[in-house]
Symmetry: C2
Subunit: 336 residues, 2 copies
């Protein structure tokens, strides 16, 4: 994939840059980032159908939880609690990552176990700790609703709805959930006054301290797996496998997909366990554990100021209106 190649190149460049004198030149760092671009080659029929599915709580056993419950598009595509609430108020094992710009990630989930958005979308529906439904039950529900049947047929041209179509449509909608036009992007695109002196100082610190080594590319992250706790162990790693759960390799223990820093002001709390409530705390922890560096209060503030310039235009769309269930539609069972 083109994106992965780009990411690999960026990481390689970052690795070289960090050990060379050329590091200090702003132009060198600039090449490690890219502005968010609006999505190309979008299938609008799939997007509109996928938007309905994304907001439809009937994809859960209870009829209460939708994709948007934990990846709330009013809230930076996240739920802003340490770990999510699942069926019957179960406590999730890991922080809900933002759906915004997730199409730019090299893989999905913290451990990267889904190759792409389509592979991810089916997961929570059938996870007993999340939406607690099954793919079969989800299809039975959709196939009982005439308006859904017609819309799937219009979009996919087939007589039968299947889970592949469902996840395809949700993934296509998610492709549109990008956030261009952040102040950092405006600055990259030539508006030199878009960033303040403090924010630029934060950008310089972010680069020169080494944050950029992992948080680079158009998504400032999302393009590699890295160990949580490089210089110093992270105390939130207890009972956590990370990437090792996918690869089976001991070397991948505590490795996680580097989270994007896009819209990071909106996606608190931070880390895979949601243990850091504020950006100040997250920057301090990252500096110490990943870089062996204790930022001063002034440095921390400047980096946080830079991070807040990464909030882009949030996806803007009308709320979808969901077709009502038919008499024959199986009813949700929230209390069974």
């Amino acid at each position: 994939m083109k994106l992965n190649t780009l990411a690999a190149t960026l990481i390689a460049v970052a690795g070289i840059s960090l050990s060379s004198a050329a590091l200090a030149q702003q132009d060198q760092f600039r090449a490690l980032y890219a502005p968010i671009a609006p999505p190309k080659a979008v299938d609008l029929g799939k997007v509109e159908l996928g938007k309905k599915l994304y907001f439809d709580p009937r994809l859960s056993k209870s009829g209460f939880i939708s994709c948007n419950s934990c990846h709330n598009l009013s809230r930076g595509g996240s739920d802003n609690i340490p770990t999510s609430i699942g069926d019957k108020w179960q406590k999730g094992p890991i922080n809900s990552p933002t759906v915004l710009n997730s199409s730019l990630n090299l893989a999905q989930f913290w451990d990267g176990r889904a190759a792409d958005l389509k592979a991810q979308a089916g997961g929570p529906i059938a996870n007993p700790g999340e939406m607690a439904f099954s793919h079969t039950l989800a299809i039975d529900m959709l196939a009982s609703i005439p308006a859904y049947v017609r819309e799937f047929k219009m979009v996919f041209g087939k007589d039968k709805i299947d889970i592949d179509q469902v996840t395809d449509a949700i993934a296509e909608f998610e492709k549109t959930l990008v956030t261009p036009n952040s102040r950092f992007d405006q600055w990259m695109l030539g508006k030199s006054e878009a960033l303040t002196k403090d924010e630029l100082a934060g950008y310089k610190l972010f680069n020169e301290s080494g944050c950029v080594a992992c948080h680079n590319g158009p998504n400032l992250g999302g393009n590699s797996f890295q160990k949580m706790g490089v210089v110093e162990a992270y105390k939130g790693n207890d009972g956590v496998a990370g990437r090792a759960a996918v690869t089976g390799k001991d070397a991948d223990r505590f490795n996680f997909k580097v989270p994007t820093l896009r819209n990071v002001e909106m996606t608190y709390p931070y880390f895979h366990d949601g243990a850091a409530n504020t950006l100040t705390e997250a920057v301090d922890t990252m500096g110490r554990l990943q870089l062996g560096k204790k930022f001063t209060q002034a440095e921390n503030q400047q980096i946080v100021a830079f991070l807040k310039t990464l909030t882009g235009d949030q996806p803007m769309f009308t709320i979808p209106i969901l077709p009502p269930s038919a008499d024959s539609t199986p009813r949700p069972t929230p209390f069974k």
Copy 2:
């Protein structure tokens, strides 16, 4: 209030009509209804602020439940489960009524204990079985978020946020949640071909069987309290007080606010206990218990066909983007 006067007049007219020969004339019934009108004298600043609050789960203890969770504007302003899910997955005691066109009701809640939308809006926030928060905690949360502080000041012109402003803004947003332009309204406004022959037959049955006695006015309901189980007792009344909980009068036991039939195709399941899954079932039960009438299958189908013409244009707006919490904002406690 003008609306109450109108409602009283309509009920009086219905009472007379039902016992007179003039009942059979369609014009006589026509006067018992009115098309939904777009809201007048709307304060747009309050509406935009109220929309944010309506979608903000931070008004709940868990940070997970918003007004829209149980009055879902993608789903006819209801949650489509028998009784709602509250904090920690508590099972609610009563079916969540639709918020759509609720400004046209003579009072709020099934027992009418809130005089208006503003009085209603504060209830669920502080109800331990619903959002499980408190008004004080809600204000502390809002007052910690600079963007909210500015917006409240812009809208209300005061330095301090209070619960009165919060409920005022939510109620103003809810005033905009009306659904004009249903096919029934188009028919009332002169498009004679807007209803099919079957739907018109259902309308005639609805009138002549006496459904109109309670379901009249612009909201086809919502303007009186009536006993659930007039001719025959309703088995879902166990442990239910109804309007008597408000008035203290034994005569008001099992009395409930007559629900609106607007958008009724979208607001299943039906009745205060959500026991009827389909319109067919609801029409059958209402006929037997309230009117002592057993509708034939053909009659039932015609009435249901008429009821489905009451679905109007659903509220159309872009999803609100909520301002992020500040470092000092108290964090939600979903699992404590």
